[in-house]
């Protein structure tokens, strides 16, 4: 037989285990799920949604602006004029009363509204650029959801173009060319957030700002969990391979002490890694913020900054999550017969860390459907990854429930680890059980 073929066949036989395929399949489903979720979010952005229109001017151009808005809905979404009129909700609210605008938007279930104020028509008639204001209610729908605010801005741009075309056909004054090309200043944005109407920001700016501040924690947590997970599981594999574990287990010391000692030392390493990564990520984040336009709005300027108690909660959550990860790793490591087997055991931990991190990048807790929230809640690493956003937007119940769950999960994993350390599995692995024989040992044929 060809020597190369002989070696390849032997290597493939060793590598193609059910376990390795399951790991890859899980990762495939994770990415498929994330892609599908992003697709759903994208679909919700590209489908027509209600928009408010406040006419504070009453002039001809204000009426035409409303008509342009309706025609943009017709052209963009391919719907009838009648359907388009259903999406444009005309609101009769004075523009100097921000609270009334927000209240009016809320009562109509609107996230966005545009408004033209007094002098709008006369400005356009007199060759002066007019202003269309944007109003948003920020509901923390995540980065993808917030992208909807860009569509409103684009619509204002389109309105400006249509007004420009109308003006050009009516006025033929070369001195007014700059005005005719861009008759609307669409930069007057207001966003209602956490009880206050902030000027000069849109939801997407806020989401980007929040993400810049909060993305660091999930990434660091994911990296720390993957790293310490690998260290702990590999160390267990090494201990078994070198039989140092057998010696250790015959020492006159309780199994609880051995488990706690191993977890505590790995947790300290995890914290050290976490701090080091955090420092690096802070520089990265600062660099990103310094690049114009990528920084978004500062959450602190919008009253979303975290206080000392919030940071204490974040720290506690991270510490508990590390404990949970280590508990899981110790349990998985107990089943690893040697160093090589230990390497594949790290996959479930990595998957559990990647899922919430990916979701956290594109969506917020509140924007997720219950069917996703439930499995996400069960994954312990979700809670420290989403805690900053949840604290910023006042989801205290989710934070407290998550903390209680993490504490319970950590205790449970340590309890199970001690049980495993007291059992034969630690030395014999699962290779001796009927279940293991039916599953783990089988190779793909």
């Amino acid at each position: 037989m060809n020597h190369l073929l002989n070696i390849v066949r032997k290597e493939l036989k060793e590598l193609m285990t059910i376990g390795s395929f399951v790991s890859v399949l899980i990762m495939m489903f994770v990415f498929m799920g994330a892609g599908s979720m992003m697709g759903d979010q994208g679909e919700s952005i590209t489908s027509p949604s209600d928009i408010g229109f406040i006419n504070g001017d009453g002039g001809l151009w204000a009426d035409r602006t409303e008509e342009f808005l309706i025609s943009i809905y017709v052209d963009t979404y391919g719907i009838s004029e009648e359907e388009a009129r259903g999406f444009v909700k005309v609101m009769d609210i004075p523009l100097d009363d921000g609270a009334a605008i927000v209240e009016g938007m809320r009562s109509l279930g609107l996230d966005a509204a545009i408004a033209v104020g007094p002098g709008y028509s006369s400005n356009l008639d007199n060759g002066i650029r007019a202003v269309i204001s944007e109003y948003y209610i920020f509901t923390n729908p995540g980065l993808l959801g917030s992208a909807g605010s860009s569509i409103t801005s684009l619509m204002i741009g389109e309105i400006s173009d249509r007004i420009s075309q109308a003006l050009v056909s009516e006025i033929a004054d070369p001195d007014l060319t700059p005005f005719l090309l861009s008759p609307i200043k669409g930069t007057d944005a207001h966003t209602y957030i956490d009880g206050e109407l902030h000027s000069g920001v849109r939801p997407l700016d806020i989401s980007m700002g929040v993400m810049n501040q909060t993305l660091m924690v999930p990434v660091v947590i994911m990296m720390v969990i993957m790293m310490i997970g690998s260290i702990v599981i590999s160390s267990m594999g090494n201990e078994k391979e070198n039989k140092t574990l057998e010696t250790l287990l015959t020492m006159p010391v309780g199994r609880t002490v051995i488990v706690t000692g191993k977890i505590l030392s790995a947790a300290i390493m995890g914290l050290v890694y976490g701090i080091m990564y955090m420092v690096g990520m802070m520089f990265y984040s600062k660099g990103m913020t310094d690049i114009g336009g990528l920084g978004g709005s500062s959450p602190a300027d919008l009253g979303l900054a975290l206080g000392p108690v919030d940071w204490l909660i974040v720290g506690t959550m991270v510490f508990l999550a590390i404990f949970c990860a280590l508990g899981l790793c110790m349990i998985l490591g107990a089943f690893a017969k040697n160093y090589k087997a230990a390497q594949t055991m790290t996959v479930p931990i990595s998957v559990l860390a990647i899922i919430p991190m990916l979701l956290n990048m594109f969506a917020s807790w509140g924007s997720l459907p219950t069917a996703i929230q439930i499995p996400l809640f069960i994954i312990p690493f979700t809670h420290p990854m989403m805690v900053m956003q949840n604290l910023m937007f006042g989801n205290t119940a989710v934070v407290l429930a998550g903390m209680a769950y993490l504490a319970l999960f950590a205790m449970l994993t340590i309890f199970i680890t001690v049980k495993v350390y007291k059992s034969d599995i630690l030395l014999t692995g699962i290779g001796q059980t009927k279940l293991a024989k039916a599953f783990a040992g089988k190779r793909i044929r």
Binding site: G254, T428, K437
Partner: protein
């Protein structure tokens, strides 16, 4: 008083019974050999004696303490040396002995224990080298030193000279005889029946998870009219 008793011990892994009924007892200060072919159940029996594996049925006592119900007490008086055991590779020989001594004593007593361990290991300057630079013989001497430095009442050693050259195996056997003279009960397992013949006061022969014979090498050889234990074993198993 017997240092160790094993009464009708069974061990089942999943649907496989590895130990199907083993009985023997070891007197205080004896060097006792557990012999049999690979897969006979020697390691499982030693692991049950050392509190590492649960006993499926039967009873084992060490110096009167039940292994199943008084495992903490048993661990205080035994030392177990697994087959092909290693030490923590990033530690030096001295640091490894210190780490292990820490489980038995503190302060001056622990220092004394380490000094005794270093003397037994007899590694010279290499005691301060990292363990992963040790040869197999040096590693085994370090591990034996670790096993005997806390002065256990019972030392359990699995295939203690397996894979060692003649000189190293000879040195290890010398150490085992020495600690036995100091009153430590030693139980060794081996599939090398010549070694057991030379070293052990009494032996138990195990085959297919069961005790086949038990006695002094001399008695067994006389009973089966054999010149060595290997011959005894073959005659006992094949009839």
């Amino acid at each position: 008083m017997d240092a160790l008793t094993v009464e009708d011990v069974h061990k089942v892994y999943g649907d496989r019974e590895a130990v199907k009924g083993i009985d023997f007892s070891v007197r205080t200060g004896e060097i006792f050999g557990l012999i049999g072919p690979n897969g006979a159940g020697k390691t499982s029996t030693l692991r049950m004696m050392s509190t590492l594996l649960r006993i499926t049925s039967g009873r084992i006592t060490v110096c009167g303490h039940d292994v199943a119900t008084e495992s903490d007490e048993v661990r205080k008086i035994i030392s177990y040396l697994p087959e092909d055991a290693g030490a923590y590779k990033d530690l030096t020989g001295r640091a490894y002995l210190k780490f292990m001594a820490g489980f038995f004593a503190d302060g001056a007593e622990a220092e004394k224990m380490v000094a005794y361990g270093m003397e037994m290991a007899d590694l010279g300057d290499r005691i301060d080298s990292k363990v992963d630079t040790y040869s197999k013989g040096m590693m085994r001497r370090l591990l034996i030193a670790r096993a005997i430095m806390p002065a256990p009442k019972v030392a359990i050693m699995d295939e203690v000279t397996s894979g060692l050259d003649v000189i190293n195996a000879f040195e290890i056997r010398k150490i085992i005889r020495k600690i036995s003279e100091q009153g430590v009960t030693v139980i060794i397992s081996s599939h090398n029946m010549f070694e057991v013949d030379m070293l052990c006061d009494r032996v138990a022969m195990i085959n297919d998870g069961r005790t086949v014979l038990c006695g002094t090498p001399g008695e067994l050889k006389e009973r089966f009219n054999a010149s060595n234990l290997e011959e005894v074993f073959v005659k006992a198993v094949k009839g």
